[in-house]
């Protein structure tokens, strides 16, 4: 069973083709990392998969469903959730409420304006457990906009996984973090992706090689390699394109 299937996906902005015919199959339960130099189109690829931008041509399937013409929330309903490279949270709501917003849809609350959230004990408990896992319990009632950068990144991941999606896209989860913070987030990602499909864009090679089952290398909108970490490490083409001539 495949979680994500890309077939000859292309995306152009104006005359520039950013994604140039990507084919990729990510089976369920895999931890998959996408690496590549700046401007390779990694974030664009995420934006296409999650429905933020429409594709120019090709086909994207999430959990076996064609996503053509679907809005981001509809793709989310197929069981896919994503985080953002530039932190995207709800700054004027508390940390707890941020997490709860991530939970609501999947717990069947929809657009209800008659049920009071305060009386939803299970929901509250679930949100609090997640806060505990994110190490944010002490910051529960603080406005998310006032958190430190690292805390906001944790919250970002929290909102992403709260809904219980089985396909999770993380866009540079450790960007801008210190060593200890990176270690903590790497551990966090490992636990939360247990039994799920994880796709992540990441620059920190320690995290990539530490977590990923399969690594895909994207250069100028094209996949030049997709293999196990060990094979990627030894791949000459990758070293040339990605790590530069001197490394080769």
């Amino acid at each position: 069973m495949t979680a994500i299937q890309l077939t000859d996906v292309r995306k152009s902005f104006g005359r520039t083709e950013i994604i140039r015919g990507v084919n990729l199959t990510i089976p369920k339960g895999q931890r998959h990392a996408i690496i590549g130099p700046n401007g390779a189109g990694k974030t664009t690829l995420f934006n296409l998969i999650s429905g933020r931008f429409p594709i120019t041509s090709g086909r994207i399937e999430v959990n076996g469903n064609d996503t053509a013409g679907l809005a981001p929330q509809q793709i989310n309903h197929l069981g896919l959730s994503r985080s953002f490279q530039i932190t995207s949270i709800f700054p004027r709501m508390t940390v707890f409420e941020n997490i709860r917003c991530g939970l609501l849809w999947s717990r069947g609350h929809r657009y209800s304006f008659w049920s009071l959230l305060g009386s939803q004990k299970a929901l509250t408990e679930e949100a609090e457990q997640l806060l505990e896992r994110l190490n944010l319990s002490s910051r529960r009632n603080v406005y998310a906009g006032l958190l430190s950068y690292a805390e906001q990144r944790s919250l970002e991941i929290g909102i992403t996984i709260a809904g219980g999606a089985d396909v999770i896209l993380l866009d540079e989860p450790t960007a801008g973090m210190s060593h200890s913070e990176t270690d903590y987030v790497q551990h966090l990602i490992r636990t939360i992706s247990e039994g799920k499909t994880l796709v992540m864009v990441e620059h920190d090679m320690g995290v990539v090689f530490g977590l990923a089952d399969i690594i895909t290398v994207l250069v100028y909108g094209e996949v030049i390699a997709s293999d196990t970490p060990a094979n990627i490490r030894g791949n000459r083409a990758v070293q040339q394109a990605y790590l530069g001539e001197e490394a080769a």
């Binding site: 929330q73 409420e97 657009y111 304006f113 049920s115």
Partner: protein, 438 residues
């Protein structure tokens, strides 16, 4: 924004009172106030006071419904009065229909009828308006507001043209046998509905829709990626706001027994905006404070000066620049300092800024009143007076003192303002260091 504590706190009587005390206080205040203005000599209520209180109550509901869009969902509407006005027209027609057909629909339900009118209008106009957000939403609502106001003047059957629709609330269909001949009877009906509507709006903020409206205000794109369609959120929120605005419109119709195109017009929408912003869109109770203030100025200050809208405008601009959180925000800013128990340290800075502030305000008011007198009031043959004084409006001294007080006061306020801000920032820094403010 209130955040309920998660731990299922035992609902003991004192904590229940503490948490909801404000509601009981408001209710008690509304019940008692008419008797404060009771005219014992004539043995009846002051008509002016009752009308003023009714207006405050219904405008509070209108402003609260406006805040469902502005504060909760981040939607700036310039045509909110459309929902209010249509509700009012609905009630006027319903009352006339009851009179004509003898159908026993209780008068007590009229605000609800207005709510249904607002709801219907919200379903129709909201469908168009909520396709967009931010500036585009603001402009669509402005366009719809202008359209309906103009249409109201054109179509006689529903809107009654310029004369509007007159009606009579005394239709004898009360469940409680109240005739509603006296304004005080209508006032208590309005208090009841105002409490119900306010409570429902408050509860709505704690529902999934209410919270997701907050979320779409903060970051509409992210709401999509947690599974919600921000357009649907906006649409539902708009319809509900329409319902409550319609309730306010229904109350309006009961109080005045005439509904004209003014109830739909841009000025009415602007009033809701001003009240909400001045009171504070950031918290639930802000719009009520704003509505009371705006109505007070409208009814009270306008008796004394024709420039009240100017004063309101100046207050509004000052709020936009210096206090984007409104009155409520100003109060809330003091909470961390109060928690440290150091509110007393602000007394001196406040006193020091109050003196020049008063001087500036008085100078400004004197200047404005003198000018208004020269151009408008003198032509109407009115005599000039301010706060009991009646200087010669043609004299040089009085003009000069106004200008000196205004400009001198402003410069002095600037000077004291720096001192105040220094003290304020020091206190806030301290609060941060102690972890009281994040």
């Amino acid at each position: 924004m209130s955040t309920q504590t998660s731990s299922a706190a035992a609902m003991s009587a004192p904590s229940f009172l503490r948490r909801h005390g404000l509601w009981f206080f408001m209710l008690a205040l509304m019940l008692v106030l008419p008797w404060v203005f009771y005219d014992h000599e004539k043995g009846r209520h002051s008509g002016f006071a009752i009308t003023l209180l009714s207006e405050m109550a219904l405008m509070s509901i209108f402003a609260l419904s406006y805040n469902m869009l502005m504060g909760q969902a981040g939607l700036l509407s310039f045509g909110h009065a459309v929902l209010f006005g249509v509700g009012a027209y609905f009630v006027a027609h319903t009352l006339n229909f009851i009179r004509a057909s003898g159908l026993p629909i209780p008068v007590e339900l009229m605000p609800l009828v207005g709510g249904i009118g607002g709801l219907v209008c919200g379903v129709l106009t909201g469908y168009v308006a909520t396709k967009q957000r931010a500036t585009a939403f603001a402009m669509i609502t402005m366009g719809i507001g202008e359209l309906l106001t103009a249409a109201a003047l054109m179509f006689m059957t529903f809107f009654g043209g310029e004369g509007g629709i007159t009606t009579d609330r005394v239709v004898d269909t009360s469940i409680f046998g109240i005739p509603y001949t006296r304004p005080i009877q209508v006032y208590y009906l309005i208090v009841a509905w105002a409490m119900i509507a306010a409570l429902l709006m408050f509860l709505q903020t704690q529902t999934p829709l209410g919270r997701m409206a907050n979320a779409s205000r903060d970051n509409y794109e992210r709401t999509q990626f947690v599974g919600y369609d921000p357009k649907v959120i906006r649409y539902w929120q708009f319809i509900l706001a329409g319902f409550f605005a319609g309730i306010a419109g229904g109350m309006y119709c009961l109080v005045y027994e005439i509904v004209t195109f003014d109830t739909l017009a841009a000025v009415k929408s602007a009033n809701a905006l001003l009240a909400t912003y001045i009171g504070g869109a950031v918290g639930f109770f802000g719009p009520i404070m704003g509505a009371v203030l705006v109505v007070g100025m409208q009814s009270g200050v306008s008796l004394h000066t024709s420039a009240w809208l100017l004063y309101l405008g100046v207050v509004f601009i000052a709020m936009v620049i210096y206090a984007p959180g409104g009155l409520l925000g100003l109060f809330a800013n003091h909470i961390p300092i109060a928690r440290m128990g150091r509110l007393g340290e602000l007394v001196v800075p406040y006193a020091r800024i109050l003196v020049p502030g008063l001087m500036m305000t008085l100078g400004f008011v004197l200047f404005v009143e003198l000018t208004t007198h020269q151009t408008i009031n003198a032509a109407q043959g009115k005599k000039f007076s301010l706060l009991g004084f009646a200087p010669d409006p043609g004299g040089t001294m009085v003009w000069l003192s106004a200008i000196v007080a205004m400009i001198g006061g402003a410069l002095w306020v600037r000077h004291e303002g720096r001192f105040f801000m220094a003290k304020w920032n020091a206190l806030i820094e301290d609060a941060k260091a102690r972890g009281i403010v994040a």
